[in-house]
């Protein structure tokens, strides 16, 4: 509950029209795209500028009211689910592209800008902002920064972190700090920019960002390689990397995923093969053609039954769009869709795919796998039904085994979705107790009252580690 006094002061700051504590108004911000997480905030507040955000932080700090900054609520780790109540902070008024600097190749934006809108705006100037999360049509830059979102192009171009040069951040005590800047080099002090990217709103509130842009690649080609053997497809991925080719995109989809995606997109995807690799390369024409040919040869040498180039940009775009819809399309199969993003070193992709299938069989579950195979980031997804308690237990056990296996292979529990509330109980598996303690020390220093998105990243208790003997 928000004390009356605090409510009054918050309304004074943002205006009554930007403060909503009606039941319906709160309910629609009680969730994000993560299944099985829902919790009502006490109020929803939409500030109009940094100053207002800072004043809100001060009040919340004084009254110990949790603040959950939220973009479009598309994250998959319950990062924006207000698990401890408090206020959900919206950025619908702070959604302007402030500047596209063509001399320094940077863009300065407010957090509420939609990712795709930014991409389009810079593309008009021949520039390129590569991070392209699946939800880019609606996700916001603020959300991307807080979750350090990846995407299809991560393998060659990196993730959101690699494009954030500077931030304006409101801290828990209401201080406004600026980190980094339009600088290619900057070693003045701790790299707070990197710390805050992916901090999931637990250390501060991003109110402005300066992003790096790069020149638009000259050309692009897209191809589809089809396989009757899942592991052969995975082996091709590792082999392409081992051959020192870094494609712009190297995506993996298995048969069940292909079926649902085709059911949604209807673009003529093959559904009679066991796996597909969606491969793209961009850059100068000669390089692209040479790389595509080399990769096609590698795929064929690994028993790809067919390797075909997209005939047009429309066809290529349809393939990419279809791939981005994979997760939501999988939701067609069953009422609940549990998705993970275990990530392993790229050389271990085939082993991971094999392990996922064995684990699925062991727990008698259907697990569909797709993902950014080229960067080792897989999305094993289990269509299930939250109402079926017994099955849900098996799902949980299976995913615990998948996490454990990923770590065993030198990987991580989450490659791009974040820890949030969902994976907090497993974080220690990856970091160890000392790693957790170091992170907690940072959190404690910047947010002593624990008002910044509480209940995320750090769990009240860690899950008992599963021992994988295989």
């Amino acid at each position: 509950m928000i004390p009356n006094e605090a409510k009054k002061r918050l309304i004074q700051i943002v205006g009554a029209e930007n403060y909503d504590d009606t039941k319906a108004g709160r309910l629609v911000y009680s969730y994000d795209a993560t299944p099985q997480f829902q919790s009502l905030p006490d109020a929803v507040v939409a500030p109009r500028n940094t100053q207002e955000v800072a004043e809100i932080a001060k009040i919340c700090n004084e009254y110990r009211i949790p603040i959950v900054p939220r973009g479009s609520g598309t994250n998959l780790c319950a990062g924006t689910c207000p698990v401890e109540g408090g206020i959900v902070l919206l950025f619908k008024h702070m959604n302007r592209i402030l500047e596209i600097d063509e001399e320094n190749l940077t863009a300065t934006v407010q957090p509420g800008v939609i990712t795709l809108d930014l991409m389009r705006a810079v593309e008009e100037k021949g520039l390129f902002y590569p991070p392209d999360p699946g939800s880019m049509k609606i996700s916001t830059i603020g959300g991307n920064i807080s979750e350090n979102s990846g995407g299809l192009r991560g393998l060659k171009y990196g993730v959101t972190r690699d494009y954030v040069l500077g931030l304006e951040v409101v801290l828990a005590n209401g201080d406004v700090i600026r980190t980094g800047g339009k600088l290619a080099k900057d070693v003045a002090g701790y790299d707070l920019t990197r710390l805050l990217v992916g901090a999931e709103g637990t250390l501060g509130i991003v109110t402005e960002a300066t992003l790096k842009l790069i020149p638009m690649p000259e050309t692009k080609q897209t191809m589809l390689a089809l396989y009757q053997d899942l592991e052969a497809a995975a082996r091709s991925v590792s082999k392409i990397i081992a051959n020192q080719i870094i494609p712009a995109t190297l995506e993996f989809l298995d048969q069940p995923t292909l079926e649902v995606v085709e059911d949604y997109a209807r673009i003529g995807l093959p559904t009679d093969v066991k796996a597909v690799l969606l491969i793209e390369q961009d850059g100068p024409k000669e390089v692209v053609e040479r790389d595509m040919k080399k990769m096609a040869d590698i795929c064929r040498s690994e028993q790809a039954v067919s390797v075909e180039l997209a005939r047009s940009e429309e066809e290529a775009e349809a393939l990419r769009t279809a791939r981005r819809a994979a997760l939501s399309a999988l939701a067609r199969l069953k009422p609940t869709t549990i998705l993970e993003d275990a990530t392993v070193p790229r050389s271990e992709i085939a082993k991971m795919v094999k392990a996922i299938n064995e684990i699925a069989a062991k727990y008698q579950l259907k697990i569909c796998t797709f993902g950014h195979a080229g960067d080792g980031n897989l999305h094993p997804t289990c269509p299930t039904d939250a109402r079926n308690r017994e099955e849900m237990e098996r799902v949980e056990k299976a995913f615990e085994e998948i996490f454990a296996k990923a770590i065993e292979l030198g990987g991580t529990i989450t490659g791009e979705h974040g820890v949030g509330a969902m994976k907090a109980p497993y974080l220690e598996w990856k970091l160890g107790p000392a790693g957790i303690a170091a992170m907690k020390a940072i959190k404690q220093a910047l947010d002593p009252n624990n008002i910044m998105n509480p209940g995320k990243v750090f769990a009240k208790s860690t899950r008992k580690r599963v021992v994988v003997t295989r």
Binding site: A24, V28, S30, Q38
Partner: protein, 454 residues
């Protein structure tokens, strides 16, 4: 306003009737948000988005919240355009959820007396009876022609009506007389040997207020080589009832239409109004729990096709079509596009017209704000959406805005009027423009023939 008791009844009915699997099918990915006109126009309010509305419906079922005023407000501000279904990777049938929720609320809420009376008059007393529709239209015609309209407009009597009704009065078409509406055809022969035998669904408003558009539709079908059957026992499709929370009445109308058409041996049942066509197409869903009717409804629905699809199939666009030089653009009918999945056929037909330069309008697939009677009951949001639409239309510099549904047509006319473009821009139903083009080409041929023989 609903009382606590009403809310309790609504909640119980939600728990009994809402399709829980469908509600759970929404995985809240948010892909629908950018497609939702009310989400955009409300400045990104989640309560005004499909994801938010589904969450609210589910929360009522789960007992997390009561179906209070805000919930009701959120549901009633939805246009029902179903653009969200098109982009939903999970395939959530949002339209069905909305319809059920609205029906539950309408059935359990005690509305003010005047609303109840108007609803009864319109839903039960007028639309189901084609003869009464004719009389009402004839009365409107008398109003328009007798000079009464001029007096009413002059004296400012219309100011007694809400602004939205007043504006609507201005854009209503000149309607046919009672005499003209009598003796409608029951069967028409094709101009050439029949390629297809089709039945024509005339609709209630389309066969009265928009009778000339119906005539043009039948004429086009003849030109394209169709034998056209028009069963006289058909009537209103029930869409207005279905979307307005009168599902039971909609079912009765559906049964009447199924019975009227099912004995006919035809290839297609042709419609020329996206709103009606989409509702007819989903009769199988409407009657899914009625064992006597569900299969018959499915057989009926399988034959529904929009006139533009039939014309393209019969290669009507290969015939000579010509109009005076002009720029045209096309505003999708939401239900034609999102439910009947007809989007390319109308464009193909329009592109085939000589003299007309077709320019695609930005966001042509976004609702124009007409949405059945939405523009009358939610004028503020409707006009906000319409003004955006007119901005986009203006950018194309089109002098003719083409639509494929009577509601959209009136709304575009209203938009033209609001934008002060009545002198330079017109709105037409696609079949009217196509007939104009077919006759235009015919006239040119005639001229050439006369010139050659003389």
């Amino acid at each position: 306003m609903t009382t606590k008791t009403e809310q309790a009844h609504i909640q119980k009915a939600f728990q009994e009737r809402m399709d829980e699997d469908e509600l759970m099918n929404c995985m809240r990915c948010g892909f629908c948000l950018p497609s939702c006109p009310t989400y955009i126009e409300s400045g990104q309010q989640e309560t005004q988005s499909p994801r938010g509305r589904i969450a609210l419906m589910k929360a009522v079922v789960d007992g997390l919240i009561e179906p209070d005023e805000e919930v009701e407000r959120s549901l009633s501000l939805c246009l029902g355009c179903r653009a969200c279904e098109q982009v939903c990777p999970s395939g959530v049938r949002y339209g069905h959820l909305l319809e059920e929720a609205r029906d539950i609320i309408a059935q359990h809420k005690r509305m003010p007396l005047h609303v109840r009376l108007v609803r009864k008059l319109v839903f039960a007393g007028l639309f189901p009876y084609q003869e009464r529709m004719r009389k009402a239209t004839a009365f409107l015609g008398w109003y328009q022609r007798s000079g009464l309209r001029a007096i009413v407009r002059k004296t400012g009597l219309l100011r007694l009506l809400p602004a939205s009704f007043r504006q609507m009065e201005r854009v209503l078409p000149d309607v046919p007389t009672a005499k003209e509406m009598k003796n409608r055809p029951h069967r028409l022969n094709p101009d050439e040997p029949a390629k297809k035998r089709v039945a024509f669904f005339t609709g209630c408003l389309m066969d009265t207020m928009f009778m000339t558009t119906n005539d043009a539709t039948m004429r086009l079908l003849q030109l394209a080589g169709c034998e056209v059957i028009i069963p006289p026992s058909q009537g209103c499709c029930g869409a207005l009832h279905g979307h307005g929370g009168e599902k039971e009445m909609a079912k009765e109308l559906a049964k009447r239409n199924i019975a009227a058409f099912e004995q006919l041996d035809v290839d297609y049942i042709v419609t020329n109004a996206g709103g009606c066509g989409a509702f007819l197409l989903e009769y199988d869903h409407l009657l899914k729990d009625d064992p006597e009717w569900c299969d018959r409804a499915a057989a009926f629905a399988a034959k529904i096709k929009d006139v533009s699809e039939v014309l393209v199939e019969l290669e009507f666009h290969q015939l000579p079509l010509r109009v005076a030089p002009q720029t045209i653009t096309y505003q999708d009918s939401c239900h034609l596009r999102n439910v009947m999945k007809t989007a390319s056929a109308p464009r193909r037909l329009l592109r085939a017209i000589e003299g007309a330069e077709f320019r695609e309008m930005k966001d042509a697939d976004r609702c124009c704000g007409s949405a059945g009677i939405y523009n009358l009951v939610e004028p503020e949001m409707s006009m906000q959406i319409l003004d955006y639409k007119m901005e986009m239309a203006k950018q194309t510099k089109a002098t003719t805005i083409v639509t494929a549904n009577p509601g959209c047509l009136l709304q575009m006319k209203l938009g033209i009027e609001r934008a002060g473009l009545t002198e330079s821009v017109r709105a037409v139903h696609i079949v009217d423009l196509l007939l104009e083009a077919a006759e235009g080409a015919q006239a040119v041929r005639e001229e050439e023939r006369i010139r050659q023989t003389s």
